[in-house]
Symmetry: C2
Subunit: 432 residues, 2 copies
Amino acid sequence: MGGVENGVTLERPRVLIVGGGFGGLYAARAFRHSAARVTVVDRENHHLFQPLLYQAATATLAPTDITAPIRWLLRRQENTEVLMAEVERIDVARRVAVADGGALTIPYDYLILAAGARHSYFGHPDWETAAPGLKSIEDAIRIRQRVLLAFERAEKAARDDERRRLLTFIIVGGGPTGVEMAGMLPTIARDTLSGDFRRIDTRRARVVLVEGGPRLLAAYPDDLSEAARRSLEALGVEVRLDTRVTHVARGVVEAGGERLEAATIIWAAGNEASPLGASLGVPLDRVGRVIVNADLSIPGHPEVFVVGDQAAMTSRGKPVPGVAPAAIQSGPVAAANVKRLIAGKPTRPFRYLDKGDLATIGRYKAVARFGRLHVSGALAWWLWLFIHIMYLAGFRNRASVLVEWGYAFFTYQRGSRLIATRDRPGAAAHGV
Amino acid sequence: MGGVENGVTLERPRVLIVGGGFGGLYAARAFRHSAARVTVVDRENHHLFQPLLYQAATATLAPTDITAPIRWLLRRQENTEVLMAEVERIDVARRVAVADGGALTIPYDYLILAAGARHSYFGHPDWETAAPGLKSIEDAIRIRQRVLLAFERAEKAARDDERRRLLTFIIVGGGPTGVEMAGMLPTIARDTLSGDFRRIDTRRARVVLVEGGPRLLAAYPDDLSEAARRSLEALGVEVRLDTRVTHVARGVVEAGGERLEAATIIWAAGNEASPLGASLGVPLDRVGRVIVNADLSIPGHPEVFVVGDQAAMTSRGKPVPGVAPAAIQSGPVAAANVKRLIAGKPTRPFRYLDKGDLATIGRYKAVARFGRLHVSGALAWWLWLFIHIMYLAGFRNRASVLVEWGYAFFTYQRGSRLIATRDRPGAAAHGV
């Protein structure tokens, strides 16, 4: 163990942070003036700005616009190193993380787990190939390729029924991800692509959003759910509420007694935390999240913390939602508690500051809640833009980010429409 | 057949252009005021600005910076459509192109083949997996991923010999592609990456450039070859001239009696034209290029033209080199000849205007020849910059291109370092 004892400075304490997303990155940044030695491990080399992931998936932004190498973001922290490795389990007794099939073991004095969550298929993992989800940049590239190829194939299609199927897009899940994807698809079909094709009318693309519950954006207030639905329908999206998906196969979705054929099916439903939490040997909630104490540590191991989407956190007696601000806030709180432990002080509980909800609908509208204030339409969209620029700019020069993002958003449509691998049957659907 | 006969306007003539690279794209643009119906077919969805491909491969530019959808570039030409399909053979007797495994047949009245060329492995196609080439954006992404992963693995490496192997990069082929790649690798290792790693010193990366002949840039004047070699050696590159590669396997290159171990081997040698030319049934040259007449048509079929890297063209009695300006010039000449045939006029021969040679060495130097004028060093680099901006801007607003490219070149280093797929054994090595 590192730290100060009886006035004698021992070896510097080692802090291991697993995950370079919002939780892990903001936690790491909190150590920048610390004497601790910090190691950040992620199986990807990049930090991903997830709120804009749906734009990469709909060819509006390029993947490089919303990612940055983790080691570049932390380059100025001399006490911090970054390793690209896949942590498979945590040995809490020996205080080591085991990665890369056992090839790499990383000892720690303090651990912050921020490995996130992904979508889930309600017990049908075999649906994933037919209906890819949207959690990583790889997912976004795959979806973008499928969407663009659907239009390319439709342009070549010899038969009407084939063309209709190719121009039908189904999105499963009416949460923010599904709603944002559903809003962008008709937007790019109409604004971006319509002049570029000769044989097909891209505006005739059919987008169907399927949601099992009675409302879109279930976590939002009723009036904003309704505003979102109306805005989507104004864009031509067919919204199916109270419609549970019963079967998914390649090109087919069965839901609410209806059989829908579509070349492109996108999964934006369900939630399950990283399996890494299971290796801690402590209770998990229904979706696999680690149930943490008020100070974000786990029962029986005050030196181990879990934050962000991977944790089931409670604040002021209420569960904390799995949203970006929660990850951004909990990371530094866990880091502060680690620093208190190092200094021999008591830890403090996490107090979540609910900054509201925000989802875009198409290119120029959004729905937003800030405290009790509900906003929808174009005004909400400008608020969304401002907030995301401020968050993106946490690491970068604000003016340059604004220019770059603005330019990317309004003009890179063309550049982000790259399909980088050829449409070979069975080939991994990767694009850039 | 289309055209005007006895004062009666027949059906509009159909022009098929195979390939959306420099040759095909510039040929298509030449038809913008024509009455012909033009179809451009490419197996990719994008046009690639190849001169900057080595920058995408060395994580200096993002792939989306140097590509644009072909159908977007041609969107304003009402008479022109774009299909994404792979043409497998041409039936010159029936005047159809057969694509997508026979699923698509495209009839034509006039054909312009611009399917380009790729690198070759001197009769060892099995070397390709171990030593990928650089011709497409997919290639650039694959190389970039290997380069970035090599540094990531080196950071994790437990043993010195493993680290050395991971930090060794071999490039085979001392033409412009190899020289440009060889110049960029130490540049990114030193300028871009060096502050981001803790356990390795990226400046100790070893770059070896292997060339079978006595000079780098064999097509350039002697003094420029020498300037290139000196500049590369000043960057720390080990240049091996008169060194033929005898064997390539995963992680190993045997050349000139030496055995070199490197995690990353890049192939930038050899040349072979698209196999599509073989289906024309006319003589090909040693590297598979179609030997064309002075007006770029093929023997026996005045309605079929071949341009760019896929053609063995002659101008003023001298062979035309397989360089970008030759493709850019020959495309419109073939198009002009098609228009003359439609109007019942005689065709004209292709006159190649040799605009010189240009290759960069690292980030701030270049070697260039313009006519008899030889330039090297920083001045040549600025000329290179100017020329590429002007060419890139052929389709786009110049000011925005300059801003975008400049920003990309100087700052996107971070953005273009994205590895989009996880490093799984056997997985396709794709990154963004």
